[in-house]
């Protein structure tokens, strides 16, 4: 996982559990002297361990923390890449462009990034079906990112997750219901 994602988690952690606690997590789960910089790739396990650490310090289940993390990560990414996020005038427009535009831009910035494959179909003006597939199985994080995006556009979003990779499915199905 790229440093940029760790930096998103770091920002969230410092806001929620504080610098001291975050520092402790780094001591425990990150190699000595680790500094995260955006374009560098770090082991996925390191991110999972840190996120798990944040979850237990907040006394919340990991899935919930990943969701919260995803939500704040969206704001973090959008702020860091104003050029990319300002391309879209609506939530719907952004969601259908995750694979073909947003993550495409990511490929220009980072050498061989580890990105999920995301496809979308617009069911009607209130429903979008999103399929998520990735070896990292970060669907809860994807949910959070989507909530973050909805927030960004002042939309109310409800997500159904009827099929999940964590239950042995080949890919996750997320049904996005907009108000």
């Amino acid at each position: 996982m790229r440093g940029v994602v760790f930096r998103g988690l770091e920002e969230l952690a410092i806001e929620t559990i504080g610098m001291q606690e975050w520092d402790e997590l780094l001591e425990t789960y990150a190699p000595q002297g680790r500094v995260y910089v955006s374009p560098t790739a770090y082991p996925d396990e390191e991110l999972f361990a840190l996120a798990q650490g944040v979850a237990s310090k907040l006394d919340k289940p990991l899935t919930e923390v990943l969701a919260i993390f995803g939500q704040s990560l969206f704001g973090f990414l959008a702020k860091k890449h104003v050029g990319i996020s300002s391309k879209f005038s609506s939530f719907e427009e952004l969601v259908v462009s995750i694979d073909s535009v947003i993550h495409m831009e990511v490929k220009k910035l980072y050498d061989e990034p580890n990105l999920p494959s995301i496809t979308t179909t617009i069911e009607n003006d209130k429903t979008i079906i999103l399929k998520y597939k990735s070896n990292r199985k970060l669907c809860f994080c994807a949910e959070g990112l989507l909530h973050g995006a909805a927030q960004h556009y002042n939309r109310v979003l409800r997500i159904e997750h009827p099929q999940c990779m964590h239950e042995g499915a080949d890919h996750c199905v997320l049904i996005l219901h907009l108000d």
């Binding site: 940029v4 930096r7 410092i14 610098m19 001291q20 910089v37 955006s38 374009p39 860091k80 220009k108 910035l109 980072y110």
Partner: protein, 319 residues
């Protein structure tokens, strides 16, 4: 700095520094990515253009080859035709002979048949015909064989348009090419030394094209000069154990040292307008490069020129 707020301030300052450096880096990375994409596209375009140019040049070579070959075909065709005319001329005599022969055993007068045969033998000059026939037929067959070879050489050359790399022996390729041009090279002193060499990975048609271009240039160079012997030399020999060497030399006008560096440039020519495109050596160079070989030129004005091609052997390529 015991106040935790001080730490936080330091952290935030450091964080901002990281942010700034990263956004700088991203800007550059993105620009690099885009520049790289443009370059790749242009490279692709250049490759396509080169392929088109090589193909055009091949068609032009085919055109001028055909003209030469048409001339080549005329020669055997002329004597095949002449021989058939002679045979036609002999036909009445042979028919009379067959007629008489068919009467043998069907007539009471064998004596008369025998006299008629003797007479015919003399008046129809059957003796001469009998002496002539084997040569007439052999020459005709030989002429047809010659025509067949010329046509198949030409077809081989035009067919190998899109040929792909395979293990090839250079000796027969050089020999085929020389045969293809034999008509046009008839009036020159050819010095040919072609050895068996290790196989190379190559395209048969492309290499023929390269040789044709070099021979055409050699011919042009000796024609422009006025030495009593117009010599063109073709050598094929092993280099060291990793390469084979093909050289084509002439004792023609030679090359002005001022232009020798531009020889392989596309469209560089010293021929009068309308006579040459200046693509011959550019294409030859492209072909040799495609084969991971090299081509060099040595020349002295008034003395002659030597073009030397080095091909890596297949063995080396595979490593």
């Amino acid at each position: 700095m015991s106040d935790p707020n001080d730490y936080k301030k330091a952290y935030l300052r450091e964080k901002q520094a990281r942010d700034e450096v990263e956004s700088l880096l991203e800007e550059k990375t993105r620009a690099l990515y885009l520049a790289n994409q443009t370059l790749e596209r242009q490279l692709e375009q250049l490759k396509n253009q080169q392929a088109v140019l090589i193909n055009n040049e091949r068609m032009a070579t085919l055109g001028s080859l055909s003209a030469g070959v048409a001339h080549e075909l005329n020669n055997p065709l002329a004597y095949v035709r002449g021989n058939l005319e002679s045979l036609n001329h002999y036909l009445p005599a042979l028919q009379e002979l067959l007629n008489l022969a068919s009467m043998a055993g069907h007539t009471d007068n064998d004596q008369m048949l025998s006299t008629q045969l003797k007479e015919a033998y003399v008046t129809q000059r059957l003796n001469d015909i009998s002496e002539d026939l084997p040569d007439l037929i052999n020459d005709t067959l030989h002429g047809c064989e010659r025509i067949k070879i010329i046509v198949s050489d030409l077809m081989n050359f035009s067919r190998s348009n899109n040929d792909s790399f395979s293990s090839i022996a250079l000796k027969p390729i050089v020999e085929d090419t020389l045969r293809l041009l034999s008509g046009q090279l008839k009036s020159y002193d050819l010095v040919i030394a072609i050895e068996d060499v290790a196989p190379i990975l190559g395209k048969d048609g492309a290499i023929k094209q390269a040789i044709i271009n070099l021979l055409a240039n050699a011919k042009y160079a000796v024609d422009r000069d006025h030495k009593p012997h117009k010599t063109i030399e073709v050598l094929l020999a092993p280099g060291n154990d990793k390469e084979v060497i093909l050289s084509i030399s002439d004792n023609g006008i030679g090359i002005d040292p001022d232009i020798i560096n531009r020889l392989f440039d596309p469209f560089f020519t010293t021929k009068p307008v309308g006579e040459g495109t200046g693509m011959g050596l550019a294409v030859t160079h492209a072909i040799i490069k495609e084969h991971r070989g090299s081509i060099t030129v040595q020349s002295e004005e008034g003395i002659g020129s030597r073009f030397t091609i080095t091909f890596p052997t297949e063995h080396i390529e595979a490593e």
